[in-house]
Amino acid sequence: MQWEVVIGLETHVQLQTHSKIFSGASTAFGAAPNTQACVVSIALPGVLPVLNREAVRCAIKFGLAIDAEIAPRSVFARKNYFYPDLPKGYQISQYELPVVGKGRLAIQVGDQEKIINITRAHLEEDAGKSVHEDFHGMSGIDLNRAGTPLLEIVSEPDMRSAAEAVAYAKKLHELVQWIGICDGNMQEGSFRCDVNVSVRRAGSDKLGTRREIKNLNSFRFMQQAIEYETRWQIETLEDGGEIHQATVLFDPDSGETRAMRSKEEANDYRYFPDPDLLPLAISADDIAEVKAALPELPEVMKARFEREYGLSAYDAATITASRAMADYFVATAAKFSGEAKLVANWVMGSVAAKLNEEGRAIADSPVTSAQLAALLTRIHDGTISGKIAKDVFAAMWAGEGEADAIIDRQGLRQVSDAGAIEKIVDEVLAANAVMVAEYKSGKEKAFNGLVGQCMKASKGKANPAQVNEILRKKLG
């Protein structure tokens, strides 16, 4: 029996504002408990919310970035429930009229592009935190985070695998940083995903009962959690069981999901428009103002890279997967007079591999864009081969200096002197009579073997094109 998994995400993005969404308390992370909990954060009797302009600008930016309609009028509502980290007994959120309407995000899975539809995005306030260390059997409540602005982004159930879900989450994670509305710090909880997972028989168009995996704060855990949950649901159904709607937590230690006890009873949130806040109006002028300050969006940049740099769609998508990588590429290409394709290959190849290996951000790359451009220039002008360049790059990464200095110091300059190469070729031909004979009997592969011997004899420094040319000539 074939099963299909259906996945939708609700992502909570903490907006990069100085102050909270409805008060002037700081949003800085890591302060001592409750030192950033002002009268509004602790919900003293009589206090009132006033909306932060910057939070609204962030929402508009996001709406523009996903090509969504930005509501000219949206409404804040109260979501009522009791929880100790929710000081008012309700969360101010948006319900019927969210600030951002339907939009879309293109993701890349393997070399396939897929559009994920976004249902809506709305502004709301974050809750505080429960600290579970044992205070004589009690929990401690820290309200520093209470009131931090969030944008909750809700996708359609458009994803069909853990890989697609992770690709979507990564793309979204990059986008919110790209447009400068979120610092993307998942450890600190700046970007948190709730994943709705259901399974159904392949070919069915009816959705199965979903379970919601709460608060995933790493892409690796998300992948594991979805895979576990999918397997569990399929097994349950195949064993004749039923799936019940539930909220579950992922335990990274066991690799399993389990239902949350606090969410066992059905919630009745009693949403209604918050009478302390008036409708949020966003004019065409407000949108135009934000748009003017918005950086070039990834999709636009991707198209431009294909056009201006002659990159393939895949390369352009990979390079624009992060703004920092795109910036690095552009800076390198600007200082390099050869083909941009070479720059793209290096950025996506050696640079990305090293960064990945060391878990570094591209902004912290030990090889700067200018240094990389200098190295690539030496490939372009024939000073070194691409192969030697890899060794030079490794030395540069290790902090051994600039490309030219390393090339000179290690004597890696390519040999392009015809006489010198001819001498090497002669020696190789003399020493490899068997291969020469094979070549002459029609085995083309033997030619490559001879080229390899020549390169080896030159310690990789001989200009490969010249070696080829001279070898052909000599072999007649």
């Binding site: 008060s23 009268v39 003293l44 059997g137 009690m138 006890r261 606090s262 008036l278």
Partner: protein, 95 residues
């Protein structure tokens, strides 16, 4: 729409107000009386009428994104029922 005893208990639970059976009976009677008063609304035709949340037709004013609040934890926690290490203490929260 008539109310029964289990409705009263469900509402009391949603509102986190402890209620015993005797009080629930009284509440049922009184709440039913109030609902009877409210029921008069149902006879009014409100087709095409926009709901009114605020008396003035104005929109939300926005605040500049500036930190204006300072740490007043000691003052605020001086009226708290139970605190330790700057945290408000509550019976154990189970997730």
């Amino acid at each position: 729409m008539s109310l029964n005893l289990s409705d009263v208990k469900r509402i009391a639970h949603l509102a986190r107000v402890q209620i015993d059976d005797a009080d629930a009976e009284i509440a049922l009677r009184q709440l039913s009386g109030i609902l009877g008063l409210i029921e008069e609304m149902q006879s009014v035709n409100t087709d095409g009428i926009a709901p009114m949340s605020h008396s003035q037709d104005v929109t939300q004013r926005l605040r500049d994104d500036v930190v204006t609040e300072t740490d007043q934890r000691a003052l605020f926690q001086s009226v708290a029922p139970a605190v330790e290490g700057g945290l408000y203490l509550v019976p154990k929260v189970i997730e």
